[in-house]
Point group: C3
Chain length 349, copies 3
């Protein structure tokens, strides 16, 4: 249902100016917004774009001193306010409550109130689902799983036995949590499997992208802390311990027993070697390769394969780029030395 500019301003505790009764039915970027849409503009570039935008309403900073034909709403943080409006304009779909009759739920499993369980779901023995969870079609939860309140599993999520996930988790389709860690010992002419009997514990407010794989520990626990966010296709091996509020971009892989400190940021396609230690607030660049047992220091940005401090890596890249020049210089110096030598020989000294 549409909202007036005045209603939206109230929602974000902002100040509306002009056309307060204009109806807003959608939201878009400042470049693409059209009639009936709200957008936001925070930086200089976006504010320039706002001047020519066809948006019907624009969220702007408090200090905005330009003129727009659109209605404006002044707020202290336009982007944050805009995110809030999005939740109102596009409310997150809630699955119909109740348990679909095709779901197969063990007699010993316990579901809280207000849960929704989609078609073709399986839930194992002694599994505990807290209040208000949504389990999408085709999800498979093993035995002794715990899922905190208000968590959302999109379709086709697989949770193996003895995995614990906190409250308000969002797990996207195809993610696999709790599969066996990759542990084998060469025993003569073949590999023997080292039994993977540990567990996985995931905190509150964690989001896990589509087709991610988070392995159970060999012994003990693979941990992911509160508020941590994984993009798609991320691999977390056995016995890793990711801290709180860590952000991991897509296709990154953590080898066994890696530890990651709180608020670290890991770029896409990075690879972290076994037992490496990424300290708090460190930043690992995209495609970086952190070596086995390497430590990335707190707050430090690193890049490259092997990963080293960003500044040093960039300097190294610059030197490599200048190698042709250096090569010419060396050959020129040699020529001058040859000439000096030949004159020396000819000289009477």
């Amino acid at each position: 249902m549409p909202f007036t500019v005045a209603q939206l301003a109230e929602l974000v505790a902002g100040v509306a100016e002009g056309h307060a009764s204009t109806l807003i039915t959608g939201a878009n970027t400042i470049e693409n917004a059209g009639e009936g849409e709200v957008a936001f503009a925070a930086g200089r570039k976006a504010l320039d774009a706002a001047a020519v935008s066809r948006a019907s309403c624009v969220l702007v900073p408090l200090a905005f001193d330009g003129q727009l034909t659109a209605a404006i709403i002044r707020v202290s943080e336009p982007r944050v306010a805009f995110a809030k409006l999005l939740e109102t304009i596009y409310p997150r779909k809630r699955l119909a409550g109740g348990i679909h009759p095709s779901a197969v739920i063990a007699a010993t499993a316990r579901l809280g109130s207000g849960c929704s369980v989609g078609p073709h779901v399986c839930i194992g023995e002694n599994t505990q689902i807290a209040d208000g969870c949504q389990i999408g079609p085709g999800c498979v939860l093993g035995d002794d799983v715990a899922l905190g309140s208000l968590s959302i599993l999109h379709s086709h999520v697989t949770i193996y036995d003895r995995v614990r996930i906190g409250a308000r988790a969002i797990v996207h389709s195809g993610a696999v949590i709790g599969a066996d860690g990759f542990g084998f010992t060469l025993a003569g002419d073949h590999y023997e499997k080292f039994p993977q009997v540990g567990a996985v514990e995931i905190g509150d407010d964690v989001e896990i992208g589509a087709n991610c794989c988070i392995d159970r520990a060999a012994l003990g626990v693979t941990r992911i802390g509160d508020g941590t966010k994984l993009d798609n296709l991320v691999h977390v091996a056995h016995n890793c311990s990711l801290g709180r509020h860590v952000v991991v971009a897509a296709q990154t892989g953590f080898s066994g027993s890696v530890t990651v400190g709180d608020y670290a940021v890991i770029g896409g396609q990075a690879g972290i070697g076994e037992k490496a230690k990424i300290e708090a607030k460190a930043i690992v660049g995209g495609k970086a390769g952190v070596l086995t047992s390497q430590t990335v220091h707190a707050g430090e940005p690193v890049w490259g394969i092997p990963a080293r401090p960003l500044r040093g890596h960039l300097k190294g890249l610059a030197y490599v780029q200048k190698l042709p020049e250096l090569n010419v210089l060396v050959r020129e110096i040699r020529q001058r030395v040859v000439e000096l030598e030949s004159r020396r020989e000819q000289s009477p000294g």
Copy 2:
């Protein structure tokens, strides 16, 4: 059912020579083909292999002037003709028509004629499936999805709400289309999710590999153009726009808001940074890392991390390889300079 050499020749508008009534029951490579099998040979190496092949029939270029014991079929493009024969000899399996009784289909969903819907499928509200589509076992389609005619979803494909896919698409198992883009804002001590309310639009004749992830836009649309082909485990982030007839090898990842021009070719395990622009017909090498906001120019081949024009990158690699040599040379020059200096001091000048 088997075909005679004469029948196959007719199918590809080729000219059969020798043994036109030989029965062909399968197809294989020229190296591995045996009795009853057809193969093709186009290049010099393959034509040499044809001379010793056990194939019963070989597709050869019009100008072929050798002698084979096998029957031959002369055609202008042996590989293309062979692909056509494969479709005849191994007709693509069509699922039995009809809707499996275990499928759960919303009352407001619309299915065209001749569709087949496998067991344990879910189809959401207002979803439109055009004529002749095949939906494999366990697929989950959300609300307001559109799927063009003759499209094939293999088993376990997940399509979130409001994703549109064109005609004749092939989507392999485990692919997830329309999951939330990875958008979070650090708000004090934790990350807040930026709602992902956009959509995905995929053109006609697109093929998407197994376990690929294509995220919905934050706002607006993530687009994949007509005829584009993605290999397995490819990640396409929110708001990307891939053009028409783009080819992307396995495990490559596109960060948010990347644009890729028509006919670009992207190697495997490449990583494309946010807002990068790959222009038409550009070629990104395997494992290359295109930086945030970097432009790869039309038709240009690039490689390396960071990606730069192929020739320059190869030259840089060559210089790095020669560093030990350069090092020796520099030390030798220094020694000669030291000698010159010492003679200079001893000289009467």
Copy 3:
């Protein structure tokens, strides 16, 4: 149920010392083990940790000469013995036998004795499942599939038509085996699909990680040999041939027609180019990029992009690190040459 130290010692043919009647209910690492838990200690560091461990029982080498308050069990290989105990203490869960009524099984499929088939499984025509297999919830097996005895498919595994898997296989959730290889030919202004009509053959004792993708051959067969182990999210393209007892870490990708020899070890996120040949016992480092048609020689460790022998690659890295130094040296030499030249000019010679 708990075991006494004496019982555990018997299981591993070890010699128990002290507290033989202590009850053991779990297993853990030597660092984390507590009361009632067994651990193992093999190397010097672990034996030091054993001295302060709270474990109730420790497996130690035969020659161990220290003193522990815990009971000890002397064995020749503590790690191997410990793995064996894990299987006893944490017996692998077996699904309840029988076929869940929601499974959809073709009339022509054949299941051996003692198989368990979970809810919402689909099994196609002429598929043969040998004795004692466990098929997890939501698995989809196509037509003409063969699965050897005692194999385990975890939930959501997809097996396309005509895939053969040997005995005692373990396939983790979300793996897709037999999807079409990535084969397209540019035909004028668009790509045409080269039909992928080959098969996949997987040996005995193979383990395949979560969300792996193993494509069928275009023609012929994609092969994975006995005892080979793949970690999560590995991509194996059409017509690859992996040997026996190969170990492949997570997120690695093999392009088309790669061959890998027996006992090769491939690190994580490695990329192997088309038709490359990794010989027996070769070791490919994490993130390495093996070029198209490159050969990695038997037993050779390689690293880097492009991959080259490890020692040479490390040497090259070291030289790159020293480039700033080399640069300073060259500029210093030039200065000295300039001085020599200027003296030369001033000299009477």
